[in-house]
Symmetry: C2
Subunit: 303 residues, 2 copies
Amino acid sequence: MSGRVLVTGASGFVGRRAIDALAARGYEVHAVARGGAPDGAPDAVRWHAADLLDARSRGELVGSLHASHLLHLAWYAEPGAFWAARENAAWVAASVGLLDEFAAAGGTRATIAGTCAEYDWTAPGPLAEDAPLVPATFYGICKDATRRVAEGLAERAGLSLAWGRIFFLYGPREDPRRLVASVARALVAGERAPTSAGRQRRDFLHVDDAAGAFAALLDSDVAGAVNVASGEAVAVRRVVETLAQAAGRPELLDVGALAERPGDPPQIAADIARLRDEVGFEARVTLADGLASTVDWWGARAP
Amino acid sequence: MSGRVLVTGASGFVGRRAIDALAARGYEVHAVARGGAPDGAPDAVRWHAADLLDARSRGELVGSLHASHLLHLAWYAEPGAFWAARENAAWVAASVGLLDEFAAAGGTRATIAGTCAEYDWTAPGPLAEDAPLVPATFYGICKDATRRVAEGLAERAGLSLAWGRIFFLYGPREDPRRLVASVARALVAGERAPTSAGRQRRDFLHVDDAAGAFAALLDSDVAGAVNVASGEAVAVRRVVETLAQAAGRPELLDVGALAERPGDPPQIAADIARLRDEVGFEARVTLADGLASTVDWWGARAP
């Protein structure tokens, strides 16, 4: 398939790479960001400046663009704060409004970013899409509520809708307040990198693969929730040790210096059968390569 | 307590009576309806014309009114259609936006109309507020999603929030396409009134009591979900037979002439302990009296 796609959150971590992946698939890509085109944005993409939280600004863009496809990645994403922030509520309203307006303007296929935080994290095994949904955070509650409404809305509006549940991401351009980026940045700067004991296991996916997975998902006719993950949960300790090795500075790593977060689940693992078998997507970046290239990216920017 | 209350859906079935109940409790009542004041609206209430689905219209009203209290009753309510209508999604966005704006404008206490359709209707016993929430309809899904988001939003905004789950209502001014009104109207007009076998049991509450319960709930500091119901589930057959007796036209009633709706639950019964014991509200209108006065009301309007 191809068509005219509107990408929200296009200047964000996943969005910047997703617009490339969609352009490579032949889509006419329209990117929306509050500030319009960021520095170094690719020419192949048309940028629109709009505030999706402002119903009028959003409605004018969506109503005039007549996109056939929608990739909705935008959400409140301030590191740390986003889990509990009040802003999540406004993004429920904006996301439901966006989907409604997109359908009314003739849209036919949409994909929205969900989260592993919709699942019950006390469940032990790899989480398949039909695992119990018991979000423990307000972020998870708001994404879950958006999906419930969006699925019924799509059915009534004759819209095909997929919902990509993101697990844990890393890669170049990640916010330096997040785990992998903070450790990589410290290591290449020759600073001590304190971490928790890192026994908790998480599913990490490189941002390029996350962007590729969203492009593939949007470009498919798969409906409903699909995990966007690698399918392999690794101990956080292994991730930071791999970063330290890649940086050649294992002595800077101080594993166990930080306390574990109370209530942090021991494992958050994804079942990726739907992504692999129904969407037909396979990740290309191994964890070792991805972490090494992330260290290189920070190294090229070190002071 | 008292203060300045904004009532949405104020020209609707419950809203028209709720504004009286709030005025009687000493509130400065501001009513909002798309068309402004309806005919015969009480003078004690200030009416505002605004479209709550229009974010700008809504924001201007809420931002300038600085109400301390909010009673949000408005929703898409077209009889029959509302269960499955696409419009439910827009009301999720409008309701979350409204609550957010109300809090931002200094509001401190809100009550929103929920529904028994949030519950799992396959559960046999009377439904207490902590019964499983498995909405079977898009209306129920959208109300349930709104509550999930609203509760977290209220917590973050320092707002006290109650959620009144309405069961089945009846009384004067009900839409004549709904059960009790349609039968009462037919009977007083001397027309045949065909109904289903009416074995299904439902909790019916007079609209004056529903309005009184919402006023009492808003005026309390009870937080979370509270059933707004009579606590007594009666067979629909008994309801229509009582109407026929009150109208003195039992021969017009044709029980069993209409097919039962497939999947219609045999019983939807409310546990009203929270409303009675925590809010301290007691219904005043018995079912027999309420149905008789409803017949009288239609009789006064018969052609």
